[in-house]
């Protein structure tokens, strides 16, 4: 359509300028993140309703979760949000090597999160903490306890899937940066990937107190 198309390798044919395209990409990501947050909103609503219905039991059930695992994972994720920002920062500063290093470091932290999560679930299983009708913990046999763990598994499970998706996005960004398709002056893909990663982080920051710290 315009000559700019041929001069600017990252510009799709239906945009007039890179600024317009970046604006569109950012806005699209924001709207999508809003939609993702609402996906979790249904679960948060359910959790809140059942917590109101079985307040004291939910508090007791929450105390059987491992705060140590949960807190460790919170630190891991917050750190990973910081490292992904560092990666973007170094990309903007034109320091590709450092940017790549922090990207890979972020992915490694995501792996650490999932590993800790897996150990936590195994630990829960060993105590007989299963969702729904499979719930078999001896110490806490009150109506509503199973419901708490059902939501615990559903919410951390769905969040875990988002962590996996986020790792995929970050791995794809790593590829782009390594090949030089995402570089200083055109950071949009990494910027969007980092935004998605922050969402994954923020959801956990809500999950952590609502699941682990109920009193």
């Amino acid at each position: 359509m315009t000559e700019a198309t041929h001069l600017e390798p990252h510009l799709a044919h239906h945009y007039q300028s890179l600024a317009q395209q970046t604006h569109a990409a950012r806005l699209g990501m924001w709207v999508f993140l809003g939609s993702e947050a609402l996906l979790f909103a249904a679960l948060f609503t359910g959790l809140t309703v059942y917590r109101t219905l079985n307040g004291s039991v939910f508090a007791l059930a929450s105390q059987h979760l491992s705060v140590a695992f949960g807190t460790a994972n919170t630190f891991v994720l917050i750190t990973s949000s910081f490292t992904v920002v560092l990666s973007l920062h170094f990309l903007q500063a034109g320091r590709k090597g450092l940017s790549l290093f922090f990207l890979v470091f972020t992915i490694a932290l995501a792996c650490a999160f999932l590993t800790i999560k897996a150990f936590e679930w195994l630990h829960d299983f060993s105590e007989g903490i299963f969702p729904g009708p499979y719930y078999a913990q001896k110490e806490l046999q009150l109506p509503g306890a199973a419901m708490f763990y059902t939501f615990y598994y559903l919410m951390t499970g769905l969040h875990g899937l988002h962590v996996v998706a986020g790792m995929g996005v970050l791995a794809w960004c790593t590829g782009l940066v390594a090949r030089g398709d995402c570089h200083a002056g055109y950071e949009t893909p990494l910027e969007l990937g980092a935004m998605y990663w922050h969402l994954v982080d923020i959801i956990w920051i809500f999950l952590y107190p609502l699941l682990y710290l109920i009193t």
């Binding site: 806005l27 699209g28 729904g132 059902t150």
Partner: protein, 552 residues
């Protein structure tokens, strides 16, 4: 890339988006919003005819009060199939994914939507979801009705999981389309296309997109929870395990009431375009029509409780939800008065698209008024879950949304395919559909008022005459749709060549050749006024005629 200057020249505009590439691959992997729209058209029409056949079959059963034709289980599956197919596979995507996709970028002077690849993804999500849902329903069909109410849906022996997963995927298709439209309207408007010059169809689509993005994820999560519960027996909504089935109703209707506006807002946008074009009048109350779309979208999120009047809701809550629901009628009435205002003193030409506008106005007002009645708690209690409700929402969903869809299909057919449909058949089919609709659904108001519950296989013998009338009406409706299908398919090949602007419309999409070129516009258009500015046209014509002025 010039259209032929002869309005009815036999020369088809070349190259156009249909003909410039012809391989199967160029269709299946296309990023062109127009081709994706055409593929969606194929998809939603298939869903529509499947859903229609299911309805016809179950209406045949209802000819007789007792056992007849099909078993009770088959009957339950059929109304579920009909509801799920029509709501999720036809009504929700029909206008946005087909006409929105095709015309929204053209109307704002863009070359494509903001994210063409996501647009294609949206289509494949739709196809996959539709295939899984239809397969699941036919394989070991769900018998829960399209509302999937717990605890029945989580304990039914029929296989409901594929249907729910299908609905989940189709929901994501809807979200992706919504994201795309929001970003397109924000970032891809051509020079001069300010917000206050946006065509009213774009305003309607924009409001719809917001509702799609905000409401659909909640539905997605909710149907997933039902699927998980049905598969693993978790007891999330099962009262026997401490679950709360009313929570399901809240979550479900938090989406499914706004979903009504996903179905109707874009149809309202179509009405605004068509009514201006066929009255040759500028949109009267442009701002009012535009902002009432946003108003409906917003208030629509605060009304879901009117589905829970008999689910143990407190009197106070019921009153609040009732009043908020009636607010929707205020915004709707603003639109209706303005549409009538556009026609007032216009030079109205009664073509098929406008016929559907009249159909829309009549049925929508009727459906809307019964909606206000249903939002009144005292009236809803006896009418709840009767045929009265069924008739009411068919007046809105079929009466209004489908009339909008058909108006769009006839109005934009020449632009999409470059040929005209036969006008006489169009009008004849309109009367068949309109009459068939009234004959089908007016008896259902009477039945419901007399106490006929919805979704029942058998009924008392004294209801039979009204049921027979309703079934005969459904045949008229079916005949009307077949006639439309027949002449539209005929027109694809043998219809008169349309030329760029057969209606003399001042909508911006008519500035492109028919069928539209692959890039929409040869060069980026610049807009200087609102669409449908017939006063400017009249002024220009007057200057030419009276003053010999050739300026445009």
């Amino acid at each position: 890339m010039r259209p032929s200057s002869e309005p009815n020249s036999p020369v088809y505009h070349q190259p156009n988006y249909l003909g410039h590439e012809t391989s199967v691959r160029s269709w299946l992997l296309t990023h062109d919003h127009k081709r994706i729209a055409i593929m969606f058209l194929g998809g939603v029409l298939t869903a529509f005819f499947a859903g229609g056949v299911f309805a016809l079959v179950l209406r045949i059963k209802l000819l007789v009060p007792g056992k007849f034709f099909i078993s009770a289980l088959a009957y339950n599956r059929l109304f579920t199939l009909h509801g799920v197919t029509m709501v999720f596979l036809f009504l929700v995507p029909a206008v946005p994914s087909v006409f929105g996709n095709f015309f929204l970028p053209i109307m704002i002077g863009a070359q494509d939507v903001a994210f063409p690849r996501l647009n294609l993804l949206s289509f494949y999500l739709y196809v996959t979801g539709a295939a899984i849902a239809l397969f699941g329903m036919i394989w070991n069909g769900a018998d829960t009705g399209w509302t999937f109410y717990t605890p029945y849906s989580t304990t039914t022996p029929t296989d409901i999981v594929p249907v729910l997963l299908g609905v989940f995927l189709v929901g994501f298709s809807s979200i992706v389309t919504g994201v795309n439209f929001i970003v397109t309207v924000h970032t891809l408007r051509a020079p001069g296309m300010t917000w206050m010059r946006l065509p009213l169809f774009v305003w309607g689509s924009y409001a719809t997109a917001v509702v799609q993005v905000v409401a659909t994820p909640v539905l997605g999560m909710t149907v997933l929870l039902v699927a998980v519960e049905h598969a693993f027996d978790f007891g999330i909504f099962d009262p026997a395990r401490g679950g709360d089935p009313v929570l399901f109703e809240h979550l479900f209707w938090f989406y499914s009431h706004p979903a009504v506006y996903i179905m109707i807002l874009p149809a309202m946008g179509v009405i605004s375009e068509v009514v201006a074009c066929f009255s040759r009048k500028n949109p009267f109350g442009y701002e009012a029509i535009a902002f009432s779309s946003l108003g409906i979208g917003f208030v629509g999120f605060l009304t879901w409780g009117h589905h829970l009047f008999v689910s143990g809701q407190s009197t106070f809550d019921a009153g609040v939800f009732g009043v908020l629901s009636m607010l929707v009628a205020v915004f709707s009435a603003i639109k209706v008065f303005n549409w009538v205002g556009i026609m007032y003193k216009g030079s109205v030409s009664f073509k098929t698209p406008l016929a559907y506008v009249f159909g829309f106005l009549f049925l929508f007002v009727f459906g809307g008024m019964t909606g206000v009645a249903l939002a009144t708690v005292l009236l809803d209690v006896p009418w709840h879950d009767t045929y009265f409700v069924v008739a009411h929402f068919h007046f809105i969903m079929v009466g209004a949304s489908l009339m909008g869809f058909l108006a769009a299909l006839h109005y934009w057919f020449p632009k999409m395919f470059g040929r005209m449909y036969p006008e006489r058949f169009g009008i004849a089919a309109f009367f068949l559909v309109f009459l068939g609709f009234l004959v089908t659904f007016i008896p259902q108001f009477l039945l419901g008022n007399a106490g006929m519950p919805r979704r029942y296989y058998e009924y008392p013998a004294h209801f039979q005459p009204l049921h027979v009338v309703s079934t005969v009406g459904s045949w008229l409706l079916g005949l009307g749709f077949l006639l439309i299908l027949a002449y539209l398919v005929w027109s694809l090949r043998w219809g008169e060549i349309a030329g760029p602007n057969p209606w003399g419309s001042e909508g911006f999409e008519w500035r492109t050749p028919s069928p539209v070129g692959p890039e929409n516009y040869d060069e980026t258009p610049v807009f200087t006024h609102r669409p449908h500015a017939y006063d400017l046209v009249e002024a220009a014509e007057y200057r030419r005629r009276e003053l010999g002025d050739e300026r445009d």
